[in-house]
Symmetry: C2
Subunit: 315 residues, 2 copies
């Protein structure tokens, strides 16, 4: 495959495919654009969970047993904060805090989130470009039976228990795609847009909500290929299945593809959902059946290679 | 002894006697006023080394082997920050960071340093009153052969290597004694002022530099009793002996007493310096010879009791 790949990612699930793409593509052929709608301000720090999940995965620092955060993590700062009566609902590990403190310092010095991300990923030896979707704050909020909740209040504090009625992205209408994102969207050699297996409502929609992004994707003559985060008719992780049900959707690849409203050309689904392929094709989409569950590096790399083969086939 | 004791303390050395005083006095008979001239802003946090040394000592959380900071400390956040190219010259432990993050949160919410200190010490089960000397920022700066240095740059980053020519307390002329300090100074039942074994130039002078404090101490009809931080003609810890020499003073209890310029009534010196007592008395001071080195709780409590006996004798 020649040309440039623009990939969208949320957190942990998306980060696995992002790591696979980095393993099979040289840095100059890939731009990873990461959701920042989950970001929030906490304890004077700007926490960017999805950017950090991707960063840790690409640096090989992610905890593969716990499934999130940094390996060899400890929780001493939070234990002390908790003893002192501080807000301990969002558990920040000590190593993770080291990153947040460093990022906060550079943000206070008026570096953009893109600049800080480039700096920190560079320090960790990551050669590929990880761009936040925007340098302007976009904050995902979830309408629930408890009212509107900031995303991390819904996701972490309330453990996704509230019933979801809707989702909005505060600030998205005023936010601009980050320079790295805008540059990738404008590339003449753009070969495909890859949507990593992340939650469409919570992790991909914030990226698509940025002014001009959806229109640009519609006019681009390159395939938009998503990997479904559903496996066997449910989500491997996170609130996706519960959320789809609460929004009145069937928990299916068809409903997921329909949500993208004409934006997708191709959905990669797991072999456990092979039966969905015919329905997807009937709705006008290309569908590829493979193993989308990524347990090890070779799974990530195989899936990434299969996606590049799709792009190559379309070329 | 009846009446109230007002004690001044710097960091680790002073904190030992502070803990001794807390062990032998009920909370209503003691106000500990702690130097904040060493405080500084770092990584978006307000670090208060002396307040924290006293807090950790009184809560029994201090590391007695390392001699400073919290017991069972880890250094994971700083290791990550260092890997990310952040400023790692000031080593903040993970548990310590938990305290700094909590304090910073309350300071951002416009609590005063006094209010935050009361809150944090209360959470740690400390019944005695620890008051910062001031809620207004006072920042000790040291004139050296490298120019004027902020205190922590001199003390930690440069490891006290530069030659000291002078010391100033930026902001002291505009700062007010904290409410707890002012209240203790105004008490009708004040029985004595105790200066814990801290560095006069770096830890006690900032307290005395606050507007009105020196004058008030001079007009008070209560004894001002200092415990010398010198033992055997040198300092147990820290830059005191080097500093005195660089400022052209003999490293002696006499020079130390002279520095207080008439403010002291009584100097408690170590048995290793017993020979100084006659000279001190000749200069008009009372002098008590005892063991001032505090290795264990019983040393701290014995020294505290001896000081109270001096106060009782003066009554």
């Amino acid at each position: 495959m020649t040309g440039h790949i623009l990939a969208f990612s949320g957190g942990v699930g998306g980060a696995k495919l992002a790591a696979g793409l980095c393993a099979v593509l040289p840095p100059e052929q890939l731009t990873l654009v990461v959701n920042t709608g989950d970001d929030f301000e906490h304890l004077g720090l700007t926490i960017c969970p999805d950017l950090d999940s991707v960063t840790y995965a690409l640096a090989g620092l992610n905890d593969t047993v716990r499934g999130w955060g940094v390996a060899d993590e400890t929780w001493q700062a939070m234990a002390m904060l908790s003893q002192l009566g501080g807000p301990d609902w969002f558990n920040l590990g000590d190593r993770d805090l080291g990153l947040h403190l460093t990022r906060a310092m550079h943000l206070r010095a008026r570096e953009s989130l893109s600049q800080v991300t480039e700096r920190l990923t560079g320090q960790l030896g990551i050669a590929h470009r990880i761009a936040p979707m925007s340098d302007d704050p976009v904050r995902t909020q979830v309408e629930t039976d408890m009212g509107w909740l900031d995303f991390q209040h819904y996701f972490v504090r309330e453990q996704c228990r509230p019933q979801v009625r809707g989702v909005r992205f505060a600030g998205a209408d005023q936010a601009r795609p980050s320079p790295g994102f805008a540059e990738a969207l404008a590339r003449a050699d753009l070969a495909a847009v890859v949507v990593c297996p992340s939650n469409p409502w919570l992790s991909v929609d914030p990226i698509l909500a940025l002014p001009g992004v959806r229109d640009r994707l519609k006019t681009l003559c390159v395939p938009v290929i998503a990997v479904s985060p559903l496996v066997g008719g449910t989500a491997l992780k996170g609130p996706l299945a519960k959320l789809m049900a609460e929004l009145g959707k069937p928990v299916s690849n068809l409903a997921l593809a329909a949500h993208y409203d004409g934006l997708l050309d191709h959905l990669v689904i797991d072999q456990a959902d092979a039966a969905d392929a015919a329905l997807l094709r009937k709705s006008g989409l290309c569908a590829t059946i493979t193993q989308t569950v990524m347990r090890e590096a070779r799974d990530r790399e195989r899936l990434a290679s299969e996606i590049l083969a799709i792009v190559g086939g379309v070329d």
